[in-house]
Amino acid sequence: MDMQATKKKVGLKEKYAHMTRGLGWETTYQPMNKVFPYAEFEGIKIHDWDKWEDPFRLTMDAYWKYQAEKERKLYAVLDAFAQNNGHLGVTDARYINALKLFLTGISPLEYVAHRGFAAAGRNFPGVGPRVACLMQSLDEVRHAQTQIHALSNYNKHYNGFHDFKHMIERVWYLSVPKSFFDDAFSAGPFEWMIAIGFSFEYVLTNLLFVPFMSGAAYNGDMGTVTVGFSAQSDEARHMTLGLECIKFMLEQDPDNLPIVQKWIDKWAWRGTRVLTLVGMMMDYMLPKRVMSWKEAWEIYFEQNGGALFNDLARYGIKVPECLSQTAIDKEHISHQAWATFYQYGGASDFHTWMPTDEEMDWLSAKYPNTFDKYYRARFTHWRDEAEKGKRFYNGTLPMLCQVCQIPMLFTEPSDPTQICYRESEYQGEKYHTCSDGCKHIFDDEPEKYIQAWLPVHQIYQGNCFNEGVDPTAPGFDPLAEVLKWYHVEHGRDNLDFEGSEDQKNFAAWRGLATKNV
């Protein structure tokens, strides 16, 4: 006789219980601490994983449905964008360089985030965070893919988009975001969650996504805007996961507080340094600006972040110790970074340029304390020289910070005219850092940072040339050989925007679209 199946549908709460907590079990062939070897070594004490509260209560079956719907909408827009030559609708071809920075510097990080959350999901013994990490891991690979698909439309028409996967492992400035994620991924699962889940996804994510996605909207790039919208509800879930994770750690044991605080201090600073690239993008690479980096920093970090840390104060968490320095840096770093990319514009896969007079006036208005005093003369001088045919390309390699790997371009908090030098010694060897924040991180775990793959040192060691290249051959040109190894085509992908193939093509194609020829 057939069994009578019950018609009753499982309620949401019950379904959530079955699809998360119900999926876990206590292992018997091997002890739990052998199955989850990464759960304890960082010193974080968890007494009861069942106390984990998942604010979203999302289960995998619902997850697939939501994501599939979002994908359908996104790809409809991307197809329309491609078929209508959407790329010709952007404000100015200079804007496209912000997309190159995004594809080379951000999309590969989405992929590493995918791997990192998969690992965290594997390594946590608690079922609640395992399921949440699994979903975030899938989100992140989706974000990497959708970004790559959206930007592949630009790759058909413009230079510099062709080999981001190769470049992330090699190109000098990309070691900055890469080493940031490598640092987090090579830590334990709890530090990963504070580094990426909390500091990056919660405290700093608005400073990454709002500038790029609003920047896309302001500059007529509907394809990229749609990628942003498609990721938005995922990001909201990621932020909540990061926050839940930190609260969970703090509620489980009072001994966790100093460890969590140390990680917050470290990763707030590491994140801030990486975001220097975003600051420069906002202030210099968007033909139509959204807001200044300083304004974004004040809204999203100082005000929103301030409210968050007020909320966490009841656990004994203090605001990150770098706050006083970032309040000074926000007036400088975007100008210092753009000056760096401009002068090393021979060695990157995107174009650089000097701002117009009108743009400099905008910068003066947004940075009344610093732009005219410290930067305008430099930029005007470079522009004048370029007009005389002497565009400045710095041909000597810069000194890098051992921790953030950014060239030592930052100035002393007390003196914006003086480069900030910090030095440590470990096992008889000298190490240089760009700031108190990076020095502090180095001194805390020198064994980790002495292994840093610093692009400048690697070039001098001879590790950045294609096989068979002989650096001792007569007439050897190291920069040319390094560019070949980067897969950056000299004269096409790099150098000034003025006179570039991108500039000429965009003007010609837009002309065809808007004029009778």
Binding site: A339, Q343, Y375, P398, L400
Partner: protein, 119 residues
């Protein structure tokens, strides 16, 4: 503090001098001339004469700056690791006690960059 790890955590430093094919790293920055965004990194034999470093190498790296023509390096004020330091143009890096990854900076009194902006 040591790295917390499951096993003994011991790895080689990536940039020890033996990896630079007989050269040593030397960093040099020109104070109040931020047109050069960061100090420079050079890989040089320890037998390099300091005068040659100044005349042949630094002049090439810093020469784009309009102030460079007015620089008299004999009168520059040098620092090593932030402490006052006196070079001798006729001595080599080794003779001056400069070690792998030492950081030098110099000031050129009276010269303060483009329109005095320290650029």
């Amino acid at each position: 503090m040591a790295v917390k790890a499951l096993k003994a955590y011991k790895f080689d430093a990536a940039d020890t001098q033996d990896k630079f094919h007989g050269n040593q790293l030397l960093y040099v920055g020109w104070d109040k001339h931020l047109m050069f965004c960061a100090p420079f990194a050079f890989a040089l034999p320890s037998t390099t004469r300091f005068g040659d470093l100044c005349d042949k190498i630094l002049s090439k790296s810093f020469g784009y700056h309009p102030d460079w023509a007015k620089v008299d390096l004999a009168k520059a004020v040098w620092k090593k690791s932030g402490q006052p330091w006196q070079p001798d143009m006729n001595k080599t890096l080794a003779e001056l006690g400069l070690k792998h990854k030492d950081a030098l900076r110099f000031e050129t009194p009276g010269l303060n960059g483009i329109q005095g902006s320290c650029s």
